[in-house]
Symmetry: C2
Subunit: 246 residues, 2 copies
């Protein structure tokens, strides 16, 4: 499985992805699920992927190759005029890859599926965030739905729903995401650290702070351990149930 979140804040876009992939419980590897395309001053595009690893790697490789084949007439991520067109391009590429596997006579089409989060900014537009389905269609984030999750989404969702605030700082958003990731990791073995992140500042048109949080990162340990105590204290602060006379 996988867990990735793309989040829209007033000050920009925040992306985080885990790195665990597995084929069965006894075959676990680490892969980066975040790809970034940058043309400074013109665009920054970030892609998060979940699902079949062969599919998502093929999608990223195709997108990459095309940005380098300048002669080709097909649109590229570095050439499209808007984030909407970028989402269309990625969605078409995803569908193409899945269809190719399927046409090769493979029936287990569900195994080739993948879901993507695409976000970024292209000069002339605002930052935008999309969720792309394996069928090749997509939806866009809005004030009502300001973040997308893919992969193992449920364990980490309640805290996002409760604590997300579009005005929050990158530092606070990272903390929120880490708590959400930690809740997921604690419940699903197929999601695991290290976690990759990218903090894209709106209007900057250059890749923002990015890095990787390892399992033994002292801040991560502090959040993971402190959160249990903080939750119990939060619960203690609420009024107890008044038992009716039994």
């Amino acid at each position: 499985m996988t867990y990735c979140v793309g989040m829209m804040l007033r000050r920009g876009l925040v992306f985080m992805s885990d790195t665990r992939t597995n084929a069965g419980l006894d075959n676990i590897s680490t892969f980066k699920k975040m790809s970034i395309w940058e043309a400074q001053g013109d665009r920054v595009i970030t892609l998060l992927s979940s699902g079949n690893l062969a599919t998502t790697q093929a999608v990223v490789s195709l997108l990459d190759e095309r940005t380098k084949a300048h002669e080709s007439r097909v649109p590229t991520l570095l050439g499209v005029p808007s984030m909407f067109q970028a989402a269309r391009l990625v969605a078409d590429t995803l569908r193409e890859v899945i269809d190719n596997h399927r046409q090769a006579g493979q029936e287990a089409d569900s195994a080739f599926r993948a879901t993507l989060i695409l976000g970024g900014e292209i000069a002339g537009g605002a930052p935008r965030l999309f969720l792309i389905y394996p069928e090749g269609n997509f939806i866009e984030a809005s004030a009502d739905t300001p973040f997308f999750q893919i992969g193992e989404t449920k364990y980490g969702r309640p805290i996002l729903v409760r604590a997300y605030d579009p005005e929050m700082s990158f530092a606070a958003a990272m903390k929120l995401l880490l708590v959400s990731f930690d809740s997921t990791v604690k419940a699903n073995l197929s999601v695991g650290p290290p976690f990759d992140y990218h903090l894209y500042e709106a209007g900057s048109l250059r890749a923002g702070v990015q890095g990787r949080i390892e399992a033994d990162d002292p801040w991560f340990r502090e959040i993971a351990e402190g959160w249990g105590a903080a939750l119990r204290a939060a619960l203690d602060g609420l009024p107890d149930f008044e038992l009716p006379p039994g």
Copy 2:
């Protein structure tokens, strides 16, 4: 869908279940998913059910009927000598019902599936708690796994994992469960109030405090609204991420 939790505490067993059932999004009803059998001074047995409603209602009806047919030689919930035998009886009844539907020529066997939580105490034994699978086998709760969830389990799990404490009071356990149920309700339309509960005191051998928490219950409203603020405060109390110089 459904959400039910059975939890083992030092002082007894706590059960909570939602009441929403649905056949599609446009066909929603309210059904009690908690059944209690009591023979004061001898035994109290509580059953929580999730899955196909026709299956779970048939299981409960069969168990009920058999406790009333005193002549019959088949074991009954009010006759079995131990909670382990009670779990076997319920599991066999569940498998029997599912098999009957299946033999009637219906192929959609997954639609007939159901999963149950069974807990209680029979004189001479300690309180015990079981999770019963549609295949008719079951597992028992222990100090390592002191609670079971069935139905939509993921959204409400992180808080249970973090805040469960075997020494907690019934009043605190009710609060914990309500937060877990509220997180689930907020994320999945097919889980909804009112919530039924039963607090069985270890060694009492009589049904404990039980009741129903309605959607407009003032305490529930207070918990649901207070929890968001409490979570945000808990998050604020943790150290922010230190942005590396970008």
